[in-house]
């Protein structure tokens, strides 16, 4: 028919398509990353207020569990020094003579259910009390020593039940006015702290989920607004990775900046709390110091923020990309 039809059978020459080497591809990969990062930055700068608001909300959501964990760590550290939970204090009757007290404590030593005995006689008790309470003037004006002699004993068996039995036995002794399981409340506190820790973990998971939702939703809106671009790019042969890249950057940006802001919030509140805490510890003669997130905590916060951002972006974009797969 025509000269055109005649060319049909000829061997193909092919249009000179550009063939990309591996090196080209690698350079392109890097160039694209740079391009995308710049693009993201431009986007954020174009809507600074809304970006900042989002970051702030995320930062609070990240800071709250971190702050609670830090507080918990501080409290746990505070109580960890008090570990002799098997200590029972025996307050003796004040009418006992010194030799009677001496004899009584000798007999206690022989009991197999006790491992240690420490006698604090009334004089010594008064001295210590004067030293620590700050009431030395008042106490000095007293005619006689109002304090009883105290014997501190350590029980061999530390289980709560046997401690209670022992406490009852000891308080039934005629020389003993009162037997007090000193640090039982510490045990209760520790149990409470454990419950608190669980609660904080649950809250953290909830807040992490909230962060995931907030970033995911932000990215989803972002994807929707660039819908046409993605559709066209996909038809021109863009890989899913190429399409995903800018959104992953955005997700990571939100996660990381939120983590950094959260870290700032926590450190700042610790600085604010440092002075009153110092005052308090001075009163109690303790050398307790507030600890912050520390390097590990800060790093952990950063990693958590980054992963949440990345994960949220991945989920959002993949959901969209899956819709574009041919059926």
């Amino acid at each position: 028919m025509s000269d055109l039809r005649a060319t049909r059978g000829q061997p193909k020459r092919g249009a000179q398509q550009h063939v990309l080497t591996k090196q080209d591809q690698r350079r392109h990969w890097f160039a694209h990353h740079g391009e995308v990062a710049k693009d993201c930055l431009r986007q954020w700068l174009s809507a600074p207020v809304s970006t900042l608001m989002t970051i702030l909300v995320l930062a609070v959501a990240l800071a709250l569990p971190s702050f609670l964990f830090t507080s918990l760590a501080n409290i746990t550290r505070l109580t960890s020094g008090w570990d002799d939970e098997n200590k029972i204090s025996l307050y003796l009757h004040t009418n006992l003579s010194e030799s009677q007290i001496e004899g009584f404590s000798q007999r206690l030593l022989l009991r197999p259910d006790l491992i240690a005995i420490d006698l604090i006689d009334a004089e010594q008790g008064l001295l210590e009390f004067k030293q620590y309470s700050g009431f030395s003037d008042l106490l000095g004006s007293l005619q006689q020593n109002p304090l009883p002699a105290v014997i501190a004993v350590l029980a061999r068996d530390t289980s709560e039940q046997s401690l209670e039995v022992l406490q009852q036995q000891l308080s039934a002794l005629p020389q003993v006015e009162q037997a007090v399981l000193d640090l039982q409340w510490i045990k209760r506190l520790n149990a409470m702290l454990l419950v608190l820790e669980r609660a904080i973990i649950a809250l953290s998971l909830l807040l992490a989920f909230a962060v995931l939702l907030i970033i995911g939703n932000t990215i989803r809106l972002n994807v929707e607004s660039r819908r046409d671009e993605i559709l066209v790019a996909k038809l021109m042969g863009a890989t899913n990775a190429w399409v995903r890249r800018p959104f992953l950057y955005t997700g990571i940006f939100y996660g990381v900046t939120a983590a950094i802001s959260a870290w700032l919030i926590i450190e700042m509140s610790l600085v604010v709390m440092q002075t009153p805490v110092l005052h308090l510890t001075l009163l109690y003669q303790s050398n307790f110091k507030l600890i912050g997130l520390g390097a590990f905590g800060g790093l952990l916060l950063l990693v958590v923020g980054l992963s949440l951002g990345l994960l949220a972006a991945l989920i959002s974009v993949n959901k969209f990309l899956n819709q574009l797969e041919p059926k």
Binding site: L4, A31, E229, L231, L235, G237
Partner: protein, 219 residues
Amino acid sequence: MIKFEQVSKEYQGGYQAIQDVSFAISPGEMVFLTGHSGAGKSTVLKLIMLMERASSGSIAVGDKKLSPMGSRDIPFHRRQIGVVFQNHQLLFDRSVFDNIALPLRICGYDAVDAARRVRAALDKVGLLNREKLNPRVLSAGEQQRIGIARAIVHKPKILLADEPTGNLDPQLSAEVMTLFQQFNRIGTTVLVASHDLSLIRRMNCRTLTLNNGRLVDDV
């Protein structure tokens, strides 16, 4: 280059867009695809692009079967095809230049090389002086030619065009066809879907005719 064997496509909802279509297009051929509106022309092109998958039958492009291709292979399959869309699909958030550069950016050309190729493509469609404009301000015919420039800028092995002359006057239509012919001469396989019968007759090329989803003529 493109081979259909008893291909049928049933869209979701049960509509049979094409049924039992078989044809083969060899490398370097230029073929027209015609038929009434709704005959299934766009569907054939979408199947070649892997925008849709065939319900039955097999399709091969460049000796590669399409059915086993997954989401990893599809981008590389599409890069060897240039497409002129029925509704040109230009992006109105960027300049003409950036629109045409998009396929090159996706394939990873460096900026200097890409710029040279974009200008060459723009020159071919006669719109070199419009590169900085937003495609929104161009006339429908100019937009269509930008779409063509974008389809050919990366020198694809196969060129698919869906109603490329829909918005063009007869003279521009003829020019666009000449352009396709030039591409065909340097070895590109060209498949044009059109219902401009007079134009097709003038071109004197092999023509596939669809009617209600069936291939009724191949001359």
